[in-house]
């Protein structure tokens, strides 16, 4: 599903070159639940941007479902993000002053799905994450955990190849963090592929495989 080989990313600030990723190679198979772990500055966020088709590598190759993402143009990347990747961000990133339903429908708006179908699917996924009674609440009326569950529903609604979560529990209380992890484990059991980035070992251990990263290199897998 994800095939990353010899991927490098170099940032240039003035004359100083920073190697955020240095010759990283790994695979994620369909149905896996992988955690990428490392301290801040280790390059795990850069790696997440690569996997999420939010950024392109300096060198190396990234195949997603056999498609060479590293060579795509902006608009093609947008389509890949829309159809193949479901994002869950640390800061939830819901549209402010919009309802849970409107937020979950947003990716389907860009996919050009008709309104009735959007409504129906958004409702279904919000019910699935246990927010069937919060459809018309705006984000300011929801708790951190509830907002993250809306974000999970939004990530699922396009039925993506992978769910890409960046510190999904970083901004929420630990009890609610467990609820989110339970949802992730259930999704994984149902066959969803999940890649999760975290620096917390407690959260990482929910995954079936952990990739440790430091200074832009994979140091060990467990």
């Amino acid at each position: 599903m994800i095939q990353i080989s010899h991927l490098s990313k170099t940032y240039k600030t003035g004359d100083v070159e920073t190697k955020a990723l240095d010759n990283v190679s790994f695979h994620v198979k369909k149905g896996e639940f992988v955690a990428i772990m490392g301290p801040s500055g280790s390059g795990k966020s850069t790696l997440m941007h690569m996997i999420g088709a939010l950024d392109t590598p300096t060198s190396g190759q990234y195949l997603l479902d056999g498609e060479n993402v590293s060579s795509l143009k902006d608009d093609q990347l947008a389509e890949i993000r829309n159809r193949k990747i479901g994002f869950v961000f640390q800061a939830f990133n819901l549209l402010p002053r919009r309802t849970a339903l409107q937020n979950v429908m947003l990716p389907m708006v860009y996919a050009g799905i008709p309104v009735e179908e959007r409504m129906e699917k958004a409702k279904k996924y919000l019910e699935m994450v246990g927010l069937g009674n919060r459809l018309n609440h705006t984000s300011s009326q929801l708790s951190g955990g509830q907002m993250q569950r809306v974000a999970v529903a939004r990530a699922l609604v396009m039925n993506p190849s992978i769910i890409l979560a960046d510190e999904p529990t970083g901004n929420i209380a630990s009890i609610q963090a467990e609820e989110i992890m339970d949802i992730f484990k259930k999704l994984n059991k149902d066959g969803h592929t999940i890649v999760m980035i975290t620096h917390e070992p407690d959260i990482a251990k929910n995954a079936k495989r952990i990739i440790h990263i430091l200074d832009g290199k994979i140091i060990k897998e467990s």
Partner: protein, 407 residues
């Protein structure tokens, strides 16, 4: 993604912060409002002035003596004494002239007129019986000056309604009463119907006396200040102008038209001059209003730029969820176009209301100018595109990771 969807998204965003949306649109409201109001009022003034000039008489040609040249000194136009009653009579009787209906020789001067108690300073016109027809004057009571009055140099006067109310009071009957013009007593024989003229030439504040009386008794001259002609139809105005011109050139023994001691101009000439003057004023005022429109446009750009910065995270999220560059550009452009379009429509309503109110207060005709409205709406939408373009492009060029990271 369909445009309908983008429009719905844009309206959704605009209604979230109503105060800011309103303030952003205010610049356009004021700009469009003042442009519409000024254009409509300018056109109203122009129409009003044109109506007034046309009321002076249709198919009217006026001959005035040219300026007097004594050596190197050039006098004012009309100061020459070259036009005489003889000229007027030969125009009337000439067999070469077949386009002129009526000829009215005139001598106009300002003078002080008095009754027992009141006095006023008005234009005195020495006229013949042809005057009312050429200038479209009607007599309200009594009669106008007759040929017999002219022949007998009688001291009779016809007065305008303004003169009556100034000297005798409103609704009084002045027929048979006397007035003194330059210490000579005149008997009033008629009052004209009001022409309602205001402003630059009041057609109701005039006194007419027989031409011969004006020349010999009042002012002691033997020339005319002008000859008014009525052409047979609007189509023959130019022919009439030429025929009369050649006749007078021959009569004054002039060979070069450039040296002519008179000038002939038509009502149309005056109309054109006045129209171009009021047109220039309208253009000037509209130009000033257009500056406020420009400022309004810059206001929109400013707000949109602030919006882009403020919504950096939202833009990043939209891109992460699959929005392409063109969708983001379109969304922001449509937002600014909606902003300016509605600003334009509201401004248009305000502008039309202002010109309606001013028209009903001043008595100018109310003009609902479709072209000004189409222009205003087009311009405001155009401003939306022009001033929305840069912020929209800025938004679409944001990298999703930069945008998501933005705090």
């Amino acid at each position: 993604m369909e445009y309908k969807e983008i429009i719905i998204e844009a309206i959704g965003t605009l209604t979230i912060n109503k105060l800011r949306t309103g303030l952003a649109a205010l610049g356009i409201v004021i700009g469009i409002g003042s442009v519409i109001a000024l254009i409509s009022l300018g056109q109203a003034t122009q129409t009003s002035v044109q109506n007034q000039i046309q009321s002076l008489g249709s198919n009217l040609l006026t001959i005035q003596p040219g300026s007097q040249n004594t050596g190197a000194v050039r006098g004012a136009a009309g100061s020459n004494t070259s036009l005489t009653l003889d000229d007027a009579n030969s125009i009337r009787t000439s067999s070469q002239i077949n386009t002129v209906l009526t000829v009215s020789p005139e001598l106009a001067r300002r003078a002080q007129i008095t009754t027992g108690r009141n006095n006023t300073n008005v234009q005195i016109i020495g006229a013949t019986s042809y005057y009312p027809q050429v200038h479209k004057f009607e007599i309200a009571s009594g009669s106008f000056i007759s040929q017999r009055d002219v022949d007998s140099i009688s001291k009779v006067a016809v007065v305008g309604p303004q003169v009556v109310s100034d000297l005798f009071g409103i609704d009084s009957n002045p027929i048979g009463q006397t007035i003194r013009i330059s210490s000579q007593t005149f008997t009033i024989i008629g009052v004209t119907v009001s022409k309602g003229g205001t402003g630059f030439q009041n057609q109701d504040d005039l006194v007419w006396v027989p031409l011969t009386t004006a020349q010999k008794e009042l002012f002691g001259v033997d020339y005319l200040s002008s000859i008014a002609l009525e052409a047979k139809s609007p189509e023959v105005m130019v022919d009439a102008q030429n025929q009369v011109g050649y006749l007078l050139l021959a009569k004054h023994k002039l060979t070069d038209p450039a040296l002519s001691d008179f000038s002939i101009f038509s009502q149309q000439d005056i109309l054109n001059t006045v129209s171009s003057t009021t047109g220039a004023f309208t253009a000037l005022l509209s130009g000033i209003a257009a500056i406020s429109l420009l400022v309004g446009g810059i206001g929109i750009m400013n707000i949109m730029l602030v919006t882009v910065t403020e919504r950096t995270r939202e833009i990043g999220l939209r891109k992460a969820l699959g929005a392409t560059k063109s969708i983001i550009i379109t969304q922001f452009l449509i937002e600014s176009i909606i902003l300016t379009f509605f600003g334009g429509v509201i401004g248009m309503i305000i502008g039309v209301s202002i010109s309606y109110v001013v028209s009903s207060l001043t008595g100018f005709p109310f003009i609902f100018s479709i072209s000004a409205i189409i222009l205003a709406i087009g311009v405001s939408a155009g401003i939306g595109i022009i001033f929305g373009w840069y912020p929209a492009r800025k938004a679409s060029n944001l990298q999703p990771i930069e945008a998501l990271r933005y705090e």
